[in-house]
Symmetry: C2
Subunit: 336 residues, 2 copies
DNA sequence: CTGAAAGCGCTTACAG
DNA sequence: CTGAAAGCGCTTACAG
């Protein structure tokens, strides 16, 4: 047989109807085990596989999940954020565990933006992994009418989109509790709380909660827009030192800022972790290699994938979990 | 209109036949511009998108490329090799540039192995990104009859499978030329040349070529199987030092071995890059953070994706390019 | 428990 | 340049 075998070929060989082949292969309860065995054998013998194009057309659903990773224009595969890759892997793994295939797309430029996977019969739902920095992408995806579309976002700056996020408040609390346990007396928060990156503000809130719970006054070292997060962190720390400092520990809104802070402190001859402790958020690969190595808090990537996929398909449930648990990794920058 | 609009709905609204809608939307040359404009407008107005399930069923092809990333059993998203992720991104980007969607799957355990994407009508071809270490996966994929299947492999230990690889010989030559240019006089090769990781032997051959071209005698410091590549590298360097050393530079078959070598040299008080220069292959993230930072050679990830996709669809062409160009990154470990 | 028949929504020869 | 008709290969009511 030269052409691709069809279910009719299997039916003939097994001596049953096409309907029976379909039911047997789909695992229908109604089929006799003897019949099923005959069908499976015939299918195996002629190398038959169900053609999913036809099956999906008839069935209506696709068994596929689309995943869009938003990048910055001009970024090559090597430039893409390692955390985005991890999240992608995590979503694919979670989808696979639930029996879904994953259609993956990296989107950077305006002309590439595309979210109509359901309309095209490509997928039953969409997970968007974003970085706040590509504003045009967020505008595009926000513009997709939500009605009749299953979609969930990671990293959305918009609260009105269906999102899954790190438990940022817990992160803020964890940081403070750790710093106090290490003997620091006055941890400050380094970051911008009015940033479109709303999650920074959430971390700040958690920080404030824990400070007040410990009877301490929150203290904000504000950053301002810079070319990179590192520079923002470094500049803010320098300004803070110029004003006389005052805190003995820093919880930075993200690792990149924390790394910048580390750099600035080193420049100014402030000992870390001796005089000042530093903690960040993200667990970037660079955190492991900084000098001193950087204490940090990060979401569990495996949990992130599961929550994203579950949020997509349990949207009807009351209170689907949307906060990814975070955990603390203690390293040199707070080890005194 | 509550139900999903079809091409018949568009036809009615534009006052043309279903055939014309199909042709207009597919960009057929034969359609009048005026007609096409009417059709496009009607489609836009009712929010119509071509149902790809039906289109593909009728057309026969899928416009999709399957990508399988082989992992190790038990690996979570966070454990997967960053280079595999980069390669995945690179393949997706290259596929997208050529108008293909990408169906991505991470496969680790024996029960999960699956390569019948074409038979299922899921894809027109398959790219497998492997790591030599998952032998069971290679056995599975090697077992898929090659006939009638479009498939190309990265990292295959088997030469009889359709592969794309780094230009390993060029890497060996580059390493030697760089080391000699830095004033080293006797570079040796650190690695196992009979490893199932055939690419190590290729790097050794390139090394030998360049050594002989410079009138020097190749010198192999052999590694033996260890728990990790780092340990293999460290153990081999220690054994070599015990025997009196003799070389003044090391080109290691991979960065992990080079990092182990760096560690062993530090233990023994041998100065790098002063007394001995060290270069590796891969450009692992850790190479940037080693002490001293590690000079290394690596394939261009963007090129890798392009070559993989092209190898898939130009299999008929004579001499498709299958060697990914490599480049040298000079860092501290050879900077003297 | 199994079969005959309809139909999912397209694309593409075949006519004109 | 456009239309009427067939058919891609399944799944699923509907009968029996």
């Amino acid at each position: 047989m030269k052409r691709r075998p069809t279910s009719i070929d299997v039916a003939e060989r097994a001596g049953v109807s096409q309907s029976t082949v379909s039911r047997a292969l789909a695992g229908s309860e109604v089929i006799t085990e003897a019949t099923r065995a005959r069908v499976l054998r015939a299918a195996e013998e002629i190398g038959y596989f169900v053609d999913e194009r036809a099956a999906r057309l008839r069935r209506g659903s696709t068994g596929t999940l689309a995943v869009v990773v938003i990048c910055r224009p001009g970024e090559s595969a090597a430039d893409i954020n390692p955390f985005s890759y991890m999240l992608l892997g995590s979503v694919c793994l979670a989808a696979s565990e639930r029996g879904f295939e994953t259609l993956v797309s990296f989107q950077a430029r305006e002309e590439q933006f595309f979210g109509h996977y359901e309309e095209r019969g490509w997928a039953d739902g969409l997970v968007v992994i974003g970085t706040t920095t590509n504003r045009a992408a967020w505008d595009y995806f926000r513009g997709l009418e939500k009605a009749e579309r299953r979609v969930v976002y990671w990293g959305s700056p918009f609260d009105d989109l269906e999102w899954v996020r790190s438990d940022n408040r817990a992160a803020g609390r964890l940081a403070v509790e750790h710093l106090l346990a290490q003997g620091y007396r006055a941890p400050c928060f380094l970051g911008a709380i009015d940033s479109p990156q709303h999650q920074f503000a959430e971390r700040y809130e958690g920080y404030c909660d824990a400070m007040r719970a410990a009877g301490l006054e929150p203290c904000l070292v504000p950053t301002r827009d810079g070319a990179t997060r590192e520079e923002e962190g470094a500049a803010a720390v320098e300004a803070w030192l110029d004003q006389g400092g005052g805190a003995d520990a820093i919880f930075a809104a993200c690792d990149a800022m924390a790394l910048g802070a580390l750099e600035a402190l080193k420049q100014r001859g402030v000992a870390v972790p001796g005089e000042v402790g530093v903690a960040g958020f993200d667990d970037l690969p660079a955190a492991r290699f900084a000098q001193p190595t950087l204490t940090t808090i990060a979401p569990d990537p495996a949990a992130a994938g599961s929550l994203l996929v579950d949020a997509l398909f349990n949207a009807g449930d009351d209170a689907p979990l949307r906060r990814v648990p975070v955990s603390l990794t203690v390293r040199g920058s707070t080890a005194r």
